[in-house]
């Protein structure tokens, strides 16, 4: 029964996540950029832009330059989460890949990096008056959600272990559209419930920063405006203006 409820929940969450983010990405990709508004100094070549975006995504370069505290916490959180997620691949692959085995012990520790980062960000959100001012309830809840996921995961990892083999069998089954049995440990149920919730809210929340970062014209355009025109479709339909100076207006 519980296994079925979670199965339905995960299928639903996956559909919402994929369709939701897909629609958003489609919208971003098809919305025109009528003017070159890259924030300079900016690279003059496509390759330069790829390198710039690589630095932004891998190192959070701009954030590093603008605020060291946020950067440290953001870095701990995001990289912690990335490695944790890679370690999670073992629940979704029949024969765990060798490199997932290798990072697995690190991944287990990364729960703490993630938690430290999240709690640091949360502390700033509460204690730093400027950030408190710009925070809405959803900003706190988002952190609570992620702390909940990380804490429940760490509990399973370090305190009340769950039957990992069974989790794996269940997840592999879901991938093949077969609903098996999952362990009914309360902590695991909390963990998975929150994960499903995260997936559901992803396309309707600020987590849209993930696709957004790749579509922000201020960073992703090439500084080539003097050489390259960009006239968007709607601008092409504007009424034509006269060539040369109309006789009655001549000086």
């Amino acid at each position: 029964m519980i296994s079925t409820v979670y199965a339905v929940l995960f299928y639903l969450a996956t559909i919402l996540l994929v369709v939701g983010v897909g629609m958003r990405v489609w919208k971003y990709a098809t919305t025109p950029v009528p003017l070159n508004i890259v924030v300079s100094p900016a690279p003059r070549t496509k390759r330069g832009v790829v390198f710039r975006m690589f630095r932004e995504v891998i190192f959070f370069e701009s954030l590093f330059k603008s605020n060291k505290w946020i950067w440290i916490f953001a870095y701990l959180f995001h990289w912690g989460m990335l490695i944790v997620l890679l370690r999670h691949l073992r629940y979704f692959t029949l024969n765990t890949w060798w490199w997932v085995e290798i990072i697995s012990p690190i991944g287990r520790l990364m729960a703490f990096a993630m938690l430290a980062g999240l709690l640091g960000l949360w502390a700033r959100r509460v204690l730093q008056e400027r950030i408190r001012y710009i925070s809405n309830p959803s900003d706190h809840l988002m952190l609570a959600l992620l702390v909940g996921i990380a804490a429940s995961g760490a509990l399973m990892s370090y305190v009340t272990h769950t039957d990992i083999i069974m989790v794996k069998a269940y997840m592999l089954g879901l991938l093949r559209f077969r609903i098996g049995d999952m362990p009914t440990d309360p902590i695991l149920m909390v963990h998975l419930g929150l994960v499903a919730l995260l997936m559901i809210i992803f396309p309707i929340s600020k987590l849209l920063h993930v696709p957004g970062v790749f579509f922000a014209p201020s960073r992703t355009l090439v500084d080539n405006a003097r050489e390259k025109r960009r006239v968007s479709k709607w601008a092409r339909n504007l009424p034509p203006l006269p060539e040369g100076i109309p006789a009655n207006e001549e000086a």
């Binding site: 009528p34 924030v39 701009s62 001012y133 025109r229 960009r230 100076i245």
Partner: protein, 507 residues
Amino acid sequence: MAPLDDKKDVPMFSDYPQQIPKIECGASLDTDTFKAYPEHNEALGFPGELLPNWKEVAIAKMGELAKKNRAFQVYLDACVKCGACTDKCQYFLGTSDPKNMPVARQDLLRSVYRRYFTFAGKYFPWLVGARDLTKEVLDEWYTYYHQCSQCRRCAVACPYGIDTAEISMAAREILDSVGVGQKYCNEIIAKLKKTGNNLGLNPKALRATLEDMEEDLLDETGVEVKIPLDVKGADILLITPSADFFAEPHIEGLMGYAKVFHSAGVSWTLSSYASEAANFGMFIGSYENMREVSWRIRQAAKDLGVKRIIFGECGHAWRVAYSFLNTLAGPFDFLDQNYPIPQHILEFTLDEIESGRLKIDKSRNDEHVVTFHDSCNVARGSAMGDKEGGQFDVPRAVLKAVCNNFHDMERDTIRENTFCCGGGGGLLTDDLMDLRIKGAKPRMTALKQVADEHGVNKMVAICAICKTQFAKVMPKYGFDMDTIQSAHQLVANAVILDGQETEDDAE
């Protein structure tokens, strides 16, 4: 200039490094700029007065902009409220009003966007800070989107490059579309459409002014340096801000360009039809108006049959010229493709200096200890030369070539981190004087530091707005008005023209 020690009682500097103030809600709420009269709005194609169905129109406009402009859509969605931008805006640093923190400024509009366009905002408005569009909200937009100079300092700080300037422009466009325009911008654009420049200067008056300048140049150098107007068949069309025709220290800059052109031996001309470099269409976020204003330059270039277009010292103008002109008024296939289209006067001058064609006596600027204020829109919205960062290096190369004493201000306040002068983006109006003074504080603080440590007594800017703004607010901070200089003013001091009589003991 007067020694700074005499002016110890200036109360407004913050300590260096720059202090971040505690927030003070509503501190800047009463700083409002005058609204446009119906005739100004109508001249730009907007409704004259607040529409009865303004709410529906505003929301529809917001939806339209989200469809027409990817930046607007992505920026509204992507902000994670990390707070990295909160201490970056000179208007927040100067006023302490939290709504002048870039992300809070965006949120004034984002909250309404969420209410009408997002799932969370429609069904759980309290959760995501979504709110209905009311008259109070509209007024708040008017107030705080006219306390943003669209300088993009926040965009550099943001991990996603979210550019509050884009949001401000969109907000002003929405306000205009419901009949709430700003007097300063809309009146000026209306004037330009009539006369070709922001001042409403007619060709006759313009010609007389230029003749006066030619006389001054003759008196000073003994050489007949011309400032040609409407000369058909000239090679170069110079587009320069109209402030260069009448304001100080702008005029000195224009006389500097004239000397450089004279010495280079090129044929050049101004145009009375396009006697304005600045494009206020950008300030109000109106693509249509920006295109119309830009188009005049194309018309003038065709009409005069020139081969090149060069822009004078003007910040926002150079952003529009460098980044948008080709799109808005191109293609410029009728111009000489061997030169950048358009070119900046500093690029031209640097070429002349580096090739050795321009004769320079640096020692003529020895009394000046110079620093450079990177104008925000040049720094973050354009480029010069062919290398990344040329917009910082070209002006500095020119300054260092014409004077011996140059010191940069603190790294955090120059180049891509430069502050706005406090008067950019349509705020250079007397009704916003209080805001302008406060917005200049971070720059004045950085200047005071180099003045104290290196004896800097001149600050160069390459923007008509910066020059006017600083000439006005510097005295409030205890600096002489003429501390602010045009780049080509220093060039002009140092240039020696062929046949110019030089008094060696003059300096």
